[in-house]
């Protein structure tokens, strides 16, 4: 189980409070699909996802962005139980959606970049360290049901 100091818990909560789920949800897919275009493979039924403009206007991606961030919200609210909280999601991504788990790390990176853009100087080294520790715990939990 991941151990959190009081300071780390406070930082994760404060950072999360500043996240606008709609705004970051859109941005993270735009960044992931443009910077790591092989991810397009998973979105064959989503229509036009091939330019930044198309991605930002794509309602299916917007909806999925919100779903991902709501999942993160659940992890923020269950910081002492991230692995069991994410277990069924991990199994879903492994068995049904068949996502290469390396993409969880890449998506986490895009979330961090989106938040750096939003939070600017507030995402100082200390805050970045805590936030990335949290995302690593989530990524590890998403990997946990893969064999």
């Amino acid at each position: 189980m991941v151990k959190w100091t009081e300071e780390e818990r406070r930082i994760v909560r404060e950072v999360w409070e500043k996240v606008d789920i709609d705004e970051i949800g859109e941005q993270l897919w735009a960044r992931a699909l443009i910077v790591y275009p092989w991810i397009e493979r998973y979105f064959g039924t989503f229509g036009d996802i091939f330019t930044t403009t198309a991605i930002l206007n794509n309602s299916k991606l917007a909806a999925l962005g919100k779903i991902v961030l709501r999942g993160l919200d659940t992890a923020v609210k269950n910081m002492d139980n991230i692995k069991p909280t994410c277990a069924s999601l991990s199994r879903l991504h492994y068995e049904k959606i068949q996502v290469d788990p390396d993409n969880f790390r890449l998506l986490a990176e895009c979330i961090t970049i989106s938040m750096a853009c939003k939070l600017k100087a507030e995402l100082n080294p200390q805050v970045q360290a805590t936030w990335q520790k949290f995302l690593s715990a989530v990524v590890e939990a998403m990997n946990s049901q893969y064999k």
Partner: protein, 148 residues
Amino acid sequence: MVEWTDAERNAIATLWSNIDVGEIGPQALARLLVVFPWTKRYFSTFGDLSTSAAIAANPKVAQHGKTVMGGLEIAVKNMDNIKAAYAKLSVMHSEKLHVDPDNFRVLAECISVGVAAKFGPSVFTPGFQEAWQKFLAVVVSALGKQYH
């Protein structure tokens, strides 16, 4: 050889012309030392690195951050031959400094976070991020090239 589109060259040139190396360099190194603390191992002669405040105030960290950005400038000016331009730097990091090359990737990540935090979403768009991260990936690869 790496192929660059005009859009990518423009993105790198635009970002680089607006980057204050005295600001981003020290910040990137501070981020590296705080977020990935095992990297402190390489800087045992730098004095106090025990807290993020100490790291932020450490003049050797600041100076080295600027040195790293100077290295990046070489890549910006030699985008069509970064591998050759970095041959000596790669040998130095491998044979003299004994840096685990995985740390180049991690430093590149810290530089990107600093650049994103500086420019915000309207400048550091997905397209610019793609070009910037591609550029840093080429730099990271060139730095690792002379390792054996």
